[in-house]
Subunit: 337 residues, 2 copies
């Protein structure tokens, strides 16, 4: 297998300590490749980077007509949230409105991603619940699909449950590729995740951004989801996270979503371009520097956006005493584009 190029590197002092290879693609809704590096046909697990694609099932099963999801709830359905008060309250109300509760969530519990939220929970002597799970909004959205379909929500995370079949179909439609049991795993939150070519995810985001080559209902659904996510970056992410920072800074122009193991997907909406990045080794910080380099190159940032992205593209590495001893930075291939 050919090696993907080094797209980020960690420097200590004056010497490169670590190298991070990867692939990326920027693609329009006609499938035309605007730019790419590495093997974009290699199938990757998109993980949480495609929550907005998974949320399309809310519309395809007409759960939106039954529950009239708010913009905040749609944002949470697309979210890897950080378990902050606003997230937990939002998901809790979302479930309540459907006559459901935390016990209906099958994502499992983990500590809030946000350090202050973790600390506050601990100070109150409380254990985290499934509400704090970064995927609880997505799971609430999936529960709304189950209720709209009139099926038993129990086991909605299983690959053979009607909800996951509909979610899978929604993804297949938008990426234009069949998903296969031959390239399938279980995600952190227990739902199935299917691997598909990196290129296809970038293409799917371009189609969602433009509505091109989608049926009218799908195009509307995609626009509502991207509108909701970019209008509520904090709900999709958490305080200070790059997804929040980028979507805030670009004021609706950029849809951006991280996925576990260093996947980054999104769309430069006004250009109609989708993008996808996967760092081969799963290093999230490395993938953030690649993402910053990509947006610097292709998202036409203004001065303020550029400053934000430049800071994301070169992140300091500190030692135990807090001294800056190096940096993680996007590597050469991005410079040459």
């Amino acid at each position: 297998m050919d090696a993907n190029p080094v797209l980020a590197e960690a420097v200590r002092g004056n010497w490169v300590e670590n190298r991070h290879r990867g692939a990326f693609a920027v693609i329009d809704a006609d499938g035309r490749i605007i730019a790419s590096a590495g093997d974009i046909e290699r199938a990757i697990f998109p993980r949480s980077a495609i929550k907005s694609m998974q949320a399309l099932a809310i519309f395809s099963e007409h759960a939106d007509e039954k529950f009239h999801h708010s913009g905040e709830e749609l944002a949470l359905a697309c979210a890897s949230h950080h378990g902050e008060d606003e997230h937990v309250t939002g998901v809790s109300r979302f479930l309540e409105r459907m006559g459901l509760g935390v016990d209906d969530l099958e994502c499992g519990a983990h500590q809030p991603t946000n350090p202050a939220a973790r600390k506050a929970l601990r100070a109150r002597g409380e254990q985290p619940s499934a509400l704090h799970n970064n995927c609880s909004g997505k799971h609430s959205g999936m529960l709304s699909v189950a209720l709209a379909m009139g099926v038993d929500p129990h086991g909605y995370v299983e690959r053979e449950h009607p909800v996951q079949k509909r979610v899978r179909a929604a993804i297949e439609t938008v990426i234009g590729e069949p998903l296969s049991e031959d390239r399938c795993g279980t995600d952190g939150c227990s739902i199935p995740t299917f691997a598909a070519p990196l290129r296809a995810f970038a293409y799917g985001f371009a189609r969602m951004a433009t509505g091109q080559r989608l049926e009218a209902e799908q195009a509307t659904a995609a626009r509502r989801l991207f509108d909701a996510a970019t209008a509520h970056p904090h709900l999709v992410s958490g305080t200070g996270h790059p997804d929040e920072t980028i979507m805030k800074a670009f004021k609706g122009r950029v849809m951006q979503k991280v996925g576990a193991e260093a996947v980054q997907c999104g769309a430069i909406r006004d250009k109609g371009w989708g993008y996808a990045i996967k760092c081969d080794d799963g290093n999230v910080t490395a993938s953030q520097t690649m993402l910053a380099a990509l947006l610097l190159q292709f998202a036409d940032p203004d001065d303020e956006q550029r400053r934000m992205l430049e800071a994301l593209k070169r992140q300091p590495i500190k030692n135990v005493r807090g001294l800056v001893v190096g940096e993680m930075r996007a590597a050469e291939p991005f410079h040459g584009l």
Copy 2:
């Protein structure tokens, strides 16, 4: 730059999610390469993997004659310990015996690596001190060098301090390569770290294991350090860590030490072979699976050692609910050796 081979991979379900490239070398004390993969001439930062080489300065400056370091203290000088009671007490007594205290340590404070020790500290409402820093034993050893030299210990972490010059010279002697300011950074514990070819570190461990091509005093010093480390694996590492597990299981036959950013160095002592591994992207778990594969191949494990190494070579990946959803495992190149 040519890509190193994939030496470990993370599989989710039935598909490879992440790939970890790297290089390794197994070398004898004549510099003969027993086995290798990847670019072993590329300079890597050895980080904490060569604490036993740094500790040679204790002997070259005759600090051992002044302080008569115990085996436990020598083990701590070679350690990345986990901040458990035995480590903290050991380092504290080591310092006290030299008329020094925690305030003389310049490594900085961090939470104990061991989760139970972290929890106990928190339950007592205490903040971690420099004693809990995994490098506090190494720093105590360096302080003994300063006192033996009769120089002011203050600033002993700085590159230009006499202690670091002696530490650097000790490493240069044993690896047979000059270290250079052109390939230098600051380590997590604030001392300098110099990059050198991967091959040279494996060679240095072979020389330390055999005493070959070393002066008699150096050979004795090296043997005392490896004897101390392998006799006290818990002091060098921490409860349940692979370094502890491996050295316990091999009962003195294998010296093994991890370094930050996925370096693994050691020696198969009875064979007179040194080894060094660096995972290009700094993933420690990946480097552990590479280490296990290497020892399975070259350390002639008995049945019990083999079972332990097989478990280290394929480590389960669990999701939020604790379900096993994949594994990190050593990859093909090791199989073909």
